[in-house]
């Protein structure tokens, strides 16, 4: 088979497609003859790191993925968990790192578009978006441009589609100078008995293409996402796709309308590797063959080749298998929404992928090996050496006034208010948002038409992960679990977004392996299974890797959304309590980095049994209406947590319970702790219940006034803290913090 007008496939051409010598040899063996150019393209994207998970697969299998609430774990477009009353939450997080660095607006926008499709493909209406962003040093010449483009792109897409963005996190660190991270998460709601899957079924059934037309954009996006960047990264701009959120909105509505019938057998979005991965995966999962007439694919440009059509990553497209005879009904719905609809092929019993165009065959290969024989690597890895303990003398307070230390901390890049970012996202469309960014430890969104609510968070502390990947992986999971708990929600399940450097370097692979080990341990201990996820490797530029960043997206459930608690103090005269033990751990803390200029020591230990005991207590207290406000103690330690509750409320507190505290006690990042505020008459009951549960409970003081005071460091004005906290990011974006050139 050698179609006209296609280049001959050579070892050199295969190498340009990112196939190793071994992979090329394996492909030749599987095809059993000289492969066509189109076939080479298909093998190269299906076997790319991005699509095949070849470096990560063996480790991902070690994560716990089942539980009483899990309806569908990893392997489908998104994870599905039972939220009761016949409803299910469908969610996933996915990276769009490489495209967002090259073209921040479109890269981030299409990241949101892609994750939305992963969720509504399964029959769920998207109800909330989140994101986890990591940028380079604030003073790096590119950072401002990247922040501005990424945020506008996320907003531009999500706002138009009409899905509220209710939370997220943003960090800055020089390790991301050449590789920013843009991880987007979507949560949707579906009827538990109406989940749509991707396995094709029914020989002869029509294969239907819907959505936007196919253009030449995004060809080899998946391959790009599977290689390191070099200095010429920007030359790759043509491989970034362009998003059209209006079409996505139409596609959601049209799919929801068709999904209300029983016409669909299987459905999958065309994401990375476009028509190739969707057709191969659907047929592969169903154990069937598929034959496509590529002339029938709606095309935006003239003269497109089969290679280009199969590898295009044009956005807003879906592939469906319909029941026979239902084409007209489905077509009418898509035409109502003014979207393309084309029957482009049918399922066969051959087990082969056959592609024809202009009467010629461009591809005829077995599907099973493409999926099953894809290479799997057990990459060599080295454990990350443990960091030396810090000298104990660091725990003493320095000569600078505590007020100044606190102001410096709340204005540091990782702790400064991200209002400049999230006010660009519509946080309330849908009119079901209970808490959005800045209001509670997690975004809280009511399940429409019910009293239930979902709590959603994204968490990871990369500086912990680089120092100790195992502990960092466990901490990311524990913090997500804690943030959900702090709103009163029962944590249900996790989606993960594993962002790492080049896995062919044993040191980097060791970070990946360590993070997975820590995550697996924490997910088991906290009954918090992983139901979906995404891996992004090769986040390196000129050999410089990012900090290991296993971003965790956590989902929790509140039976009554009205009972969710915010983080801001609610009234003057409330008692302020600390639940959990403080040892004063300063290793890898923000205090150490921002005040003492050191990034060393081991990250704080994570005791999962303690974590669980403390969280279960707090959740019970909230459920029983004893708690007015709750905030977990994380970045910056106890005094920063208190400042955040005060700033959100514009109300101070008298804190005699902190008298005599040293730097470790004020700013240490010991895990498993929560600050709560409650009516004064509830404090004794809380202390009693904490005692019963064996949870350390200490009284810190009382809310009120306009300053944090009463602990021997004068009156720290909440207004001044607020100005410092709110001022940093707008000043950076206005160019008032001069970049170092």
């Amino acid at each position: 088979m050698s179609p006209r007008n296609e280049p001959a496939v050579t070892a050199e051409l295969a190498a340009e497609h990112g196939l190793s010598d071994e992979e090329y040899a394996l492909m030749l063996r599987l095809v059993g003859r000289a492969p066509t150019f189109t076939e080479l393209g298909i093998f190269s994207v299906m076997w790319s790191e991005h699509c095949s998970y070849k470096s990560s697969k063996v480790w991902l299998k070690t994560l716990p993925t089942t539980g009483p609430r899990v309806i569908c774990g990893p392997g489908e477009n998104a994870g599905v968990v039972d939220i009761g009353d016949g409803l299910a939450a469908v969610f996933k997080m996915e990276s769009h790192n490489h495209p967002s660095f090259i073209e921040p607006y479109q890269g981030a926008a299409t990241g949101v578009g892609g994750i939305l499709r992963d969720v509504f493909t399964m029959g769920a209406r998207p109800v909330a978006n989140m994101n986890a962003l990591r940028f380079g040093a604030p003073d790096h010449p590119k950072t401002k441009h990247l922040v501005s483009g990424v945020v506008a792109g996320i907003g531009g897409y999500g706002n138009c589609v009409g899905v509220p963005t209710v939370g997220g996190e943003t960090n800055f660190h020089p390790a991301y100078n050449g590789n920013i991270l843009v991880n987007a998460m979507t949560v949707g709601i579906a009827r538990a008995d109406r989940i749509f899957y991707s396995a094709a079924a029914g020989i002869g059934n029509p294969v239907v293409y819907v959505g936007s037309k196919t253009g030449r954009d995004g060809i080899h996006g998946a391959t790009m996402a599977s290689a390191e960047f070099s200095e010429d990264a920007e030359e790759k701009r043509p491989t970034v796709q362009v998003g059209d959120p209006f079409t996505e909105k139409l596609l959601i509505e049209a799919c929801m309308e068709l999904m209300a019938t029983d016409a669909i057998v299987a459905i999958q979005d065309m994401g990375a590797a476009g028509l190739t991965s969707s057709s191969v995966e659907m047929a592969g999962k169903g154990g069937l063959g598929i034959e496509l007439e590529l002339d029938r694919v709606p095309q935006r440009e003239t003269g497109m080749t089969p290679y280009e059509i199969m590898l295009s990553e044009s956005q807003e497209r879906m592939l469906m298998i319909l029941k026979p005879g239902r084409e007209a009904e489905a077509r009418a719905i898509f035409e109502k929404w003014e979207l393309d609809f084309a029957v482009i092929g049918r399922l066969t019993d051959s087990g082969r992928l056959v592609l024809k165009m202009h009467g010629e065959t461009y591809c005829d290969i077995e599907i099973a090996p493409l999926v099953e024989a894809s290479p799997v690597y057990e990459r060599p890895w080295e454990p990350t050496p443990a960091r030396a303990e810090l000298e104990p003398a660091l725990g003493a307070l320095p000569a600078r006034p505590v007020a100044e230390l606190l102001k410096t901390l709340v204005a540091c890049p990782d702790l400064a208010s991200k209002r400049w970012i999230w006010e660009q996202y519509d946080g309330q469309v849908g009119a079901d948002t209970i808490y959005r960014s800045g209001q509670a430890d997690a975004g809280v969104v009511r399940v429409h038409g019910t009293n239930k609510a979902l709590a959603i968070t994204t968490d990871c502390t990369p500086r912990y992960c680089v120092a100790d990947p195992v502990r960092g992986g466990a901490q990311a999971v524990a913090e997500a679990w804690r943030n959900l708990t702090a709103t009163g929600a029962l944590p249900l399940a996790v989606t993960d977004n594993m962002n790492f450097g080049n896995p062919q370097k044993p040191r980097i692979m060791g970070q990946f392996v360590g993070a997975i080990q820590g995550m697996a341990e924490a997910c088991r201990a906290l009954d918090f299974p992983v139901v979906s996820g995404n891996v992004s490797l090769y986040n390196e530029t000129e050999g410089q890797a990012i900090l290991p960043t296993p971003a965790i997206g956590g989902l929790g459930l509140l039976d009554d959304g009205a009972g969710a608690v915010p983080l801001a103090f609610q009234a003057a005269g409330h008692a302020v309590l600390l639940l959990g033990a403080t040892d004063g751990h300063l290793g890898q803390s923000l205090y150490l980095r921002e005040i003492l200029g050191r990034e060393d020591g081991p990250p704080p230990p994570v005791d999962l049994a303690v974590e669980r005991r403390n969280g279960d207590l707090v959740r019970g207290l909230i459920r029983d209406g004893l708690v007015a406000a709750c905030h977990d103690v994380s970045d910056g330690g106890l005094l920063v947590a208190l400042a955040e509750m005060a700033m959100a409320a514009r109300m101070g507190a008298e804190l005699p319970g902190l008298a005599g505290a040293d730097a470790g006690q004020l700013f240490g990042e010991d895990q498993g702790r929560y600050v709560i505020a409650c009516p004064a008459d509830a404090a004794a009951e809380i202390a009693r219940r904490a005692g019963e549960a064996g949870v350390p409970c200490s009284s810190l003081g009382t809310t009120g006034g306009t300053a944090l005071t009463g602990f021997g460091h004068g009156a720290i004005s909440v207004d001044e803290l607020r100005r410092a906290n709110e001022g940093w990011l707008p000043a950076l974006m206005a160019g008032e913090l001069a970049p170092v050139v």
Binding site: K249, E423, Q424
Partner: protein
């Protein structure tokens, strides 16, 4: 009160408006698709927020040319009450039911947050439930909310008491500080000459129950129900 909500393919606050209207009236409004040329007999037509046809052109410009808007304009001429929220306000100005235009926010960024408003006119069916000069908080979420009209038009709007809502600062004053999008004279919402058509950028439907974080939108819908039932 019988109400209809217009649905363009890119509308995304149609459900929210419908829920708020149903809360206020007890009956769900009729949802009317953009290709319709006839409207059911209703007392109120509501044009919701969103991105009508994607708004890649000027916001609301294409929607103003849609089949259903021709019918809405006819009904407005007969005195049927017409409400435009956010993108709906943009559509009503493009359809010339209200004067002026909504330009890109002065800060050039999308802005989503609760804003302080002062109720300036309480003599319309939309605003009678408020007290004159009352300060309320209602969320906004828009990229193109910067109200513009020539000075003569602005003077006329002021003179005829057709400014319904104004953006105000924390002290309740219509200062530059309180003006979130650069609107001329801090205008957040205006009425037509006969006070039967209202357009506003803030979303009253996002402030009708305690879980929204505020209920200052309730009097808005109550006014309509009391006037039109």
């Amino acid at each position: 009160m019988k109400a209809a909500v217009i649905v363009f393919p890119g509308s995304n606050c149609d459900r929210d408006l419908s829920v708020a209207l149903e809360r206020a009236t007890g009956t769900p409004p009729k949802m009317v698709w953009h290709r319709e040329t006839e409207l059911p007999p209703v007392d109120l037509i509501a044009v919701p927020g969103g991105f009508s046809y994607g708004d890649y052109l000027r916001s609301g410009a294409m929607a103003a040319q849609s089949p259903v808007m021709r019918t809405v304009v006819e009904h407005a001429a007969k005195g049927v009450r017409v409400l435009g929220v956010c993108n709906g306000f943009q559509v009503l100005t493009e359809a010339r039911l209200l004067p002026g235009a909504l330009m890109r926010n002065a800060g050039l960024k999308f802005v989503s947050r609760p804003v302080g408003l002062r109720v300036e006119n309480v003599e319309s069916d939309f605003t009678r439930g408020y007290e004159a000069g009352q300060r309320i908080h209602i969320p906004v979420a828009h990229h193109d909310g910067n109200y513009f009209a020539d000075e003569a038009t602005l003077d006329r709007l002021e003179g005829e008491g057709r400014v319904a809502f104004r953006y105000v600062d924390e002290d309740g004053e219509p200062t530059a500080d309180g003006n979130i999008n650069g609107s001329a004279r801090n205008i957040a919402g205006i009425l037509n000459e006969s006070r039967t058509v209202l357009g506003l950028m803030p979303h009253p439907e996002r402030a009708v129950e305690p879980l929204h974080g505020g209920t200052d939108g309730q009097p808005f819908f109550r006014s309509l129900v009391e006037a039109l039932s």
